[in-house]
Symmetry: C2
Subunit: 251 residues, 2 copies
DNA sequence: CGCTCTCTTGAAGGTACTCAATACTAGTGG
DNA sequence: CCACTAGTATTGAGTACCTTCAAGAGAGCG
């Protein structure tokens, strides 16, 4: 696994803008809209970001950046799935987030990345230099507000994740995870109600705080109760969403 | 317990600015400083916030706002401790955050508060109308960046919380909680190494995802191992910080 | 000073974890 | 195209931990 930032001299540059544009998607905190996520970047802001960014593509299972290394870029995912993780002192790995199209990654503190990021699928993303971004932020208050919304959105997701992970039995956590994934992950042209998992059982386990075996057993339970059907390790059909919600503790 | 926003006609207005000023405290994401939290508001920004805000004080165990109600204010805590919580469908209560001086509360989505907030101690805070705040944000990019830093800080805290809560045994969670509290909660003039808990066992349990009894037992374990000493239900002396860190899994 | 609420402690039961072995998938090379 | 292989996923048995239910001790408030 190679760190793409080390390849700065010869990055894999994807084709020009047309099909892809920078995009930030989140629910605004203002009382406009119906509470659903909307595009937060104006065309002008997209243009400004395109001007300072580079569209890069990476293969699956590629290290994007490492925890603790100098944070020079922020990434805006165009397509594909990535994950951010942190290594705990005892050797356990905790996945802090899965990131999809229209998400941002590259959170840093004191100029250093707080997590390790890697791709789970082939990915296309805008790579935005932080110093150039900061220069834009100084001048464009509307862009700042868009980012504020996105961060609020992320914060809320993280709090929701903490809830999922703290209470609930194993099968409830997995049920919650499947429902969440169905909502956020745009499926690659498949059968309706069929969920394609871009991550391994190990990733799922490290995300919801269970052992790999428990995830497997939990899926078995959900299948036994008729809520889902395992069609393959990475393919799960949601048979009964209502039942799944009930098993997830969402009553 | 009364909702202070319903008392808008006659709020408890605290004395003029001198001793208290709006303050936002967080670690910036830029590579300046030593990685520690710093004040993010300039004097001019503090003045601007004072101009649109009202300094309010509330008694202990007072409802500040309810989940789902219209989000008209953001609060900047000056002194005291508050908590935000969410009620789960199954009746469990999950505490999303404890908030101290220099923290912000009032996160909303689509104009509605996402959690219920209540005071744990007597509290003094700036109550900032969101519409007036948005007007300032439109014009002051630097303030936006301050808020971005604060949100990053919160997001990181929330992710750390999710980690604490997902892995780890009961005594490790409690040890982590005590160490975290020592770091963020300015102690009310007490003995060095002595921790005053502003929240009940029930609150702690709902925060770290354990039962009240398990929290109690975990404290017993930490005491048995010589890491802490319970001097009272709300007073805990940290005898051996290194040992506590080891028990917390921070090695 | 007594009451109530909070906190602690005890015992039984259930759930997830660890260790271990087997089945399967997918990627590789012949 | 097929066989092989390494990694991934599932299943089983035993153990350790947390939760629940229950009762008692302590603190704080009127």
């Amino acid at each position: 696994m190679k760190d793409v930032e080390d390849l700065a001299a010869a990055p894999a540059v994807a084709p020009p803008p047309p099909p892809y544009r920078p995009s930030i998607f989140a629910a605004p905190f203002q009382k406009v809209g119906d509470g659903h996520a909307v595009e937060l970047l104006s065309v002008a802001e997209q243009e400004a970001l395109i001007a300072i960014s580079q569209l890069v593509s990476m293969r699956r299972h590629t290290l994007i950046y490492s925890e603790g290394s100098e944070a020079r870029f922020v990434y805006n995912v165009v397509s594909g799935v990535a994950e951010t993780s942190q290594l705990l002192p005892n050797g356990d790995r905790h996945i802090t987030a899965f990131l999809f199209a229209r998400d941002l990654l590259g959170l840093s503190v004191d100029g250093r990345y707080v997590a390790t990021a890697r791709t789970l699928t082939p990915i296309v993303a805008y790579r935005i230099p932080v110093d150039a971004l900061e220069a834009i932020l100084e001048r464009d208050p509307r862009l700042d507000i868009g980012l504020l919304c996105k961060l609020c959105h992320e914060l809320r997701a993280s709090q929701h994740h903490a809830i999922t992970v703290s209470k609930h039995e194993a099968h409830a956590r997995v049920a919650n995870f499947l429902l969440w994934l169905e909502g956020v992950h745009v499926q690659p042209a498949g059968v309706a109600g069929e969920l394609t998992l871009p991550m391994s059982r190990h990733d799922v386990a490290d995300y919801i705080g269970l052992s790999v075996e428990s995830v497997s057993r939990a899926l078995h339970v959900l299948e036994d109760k008729g809520a889902v059907l395992r069609k393959g390790p990475r393919t799960i059909e949601l048979l009964d969403a209502a039942k799944l919600r009930k098993l997830a503790g969402q009553i």
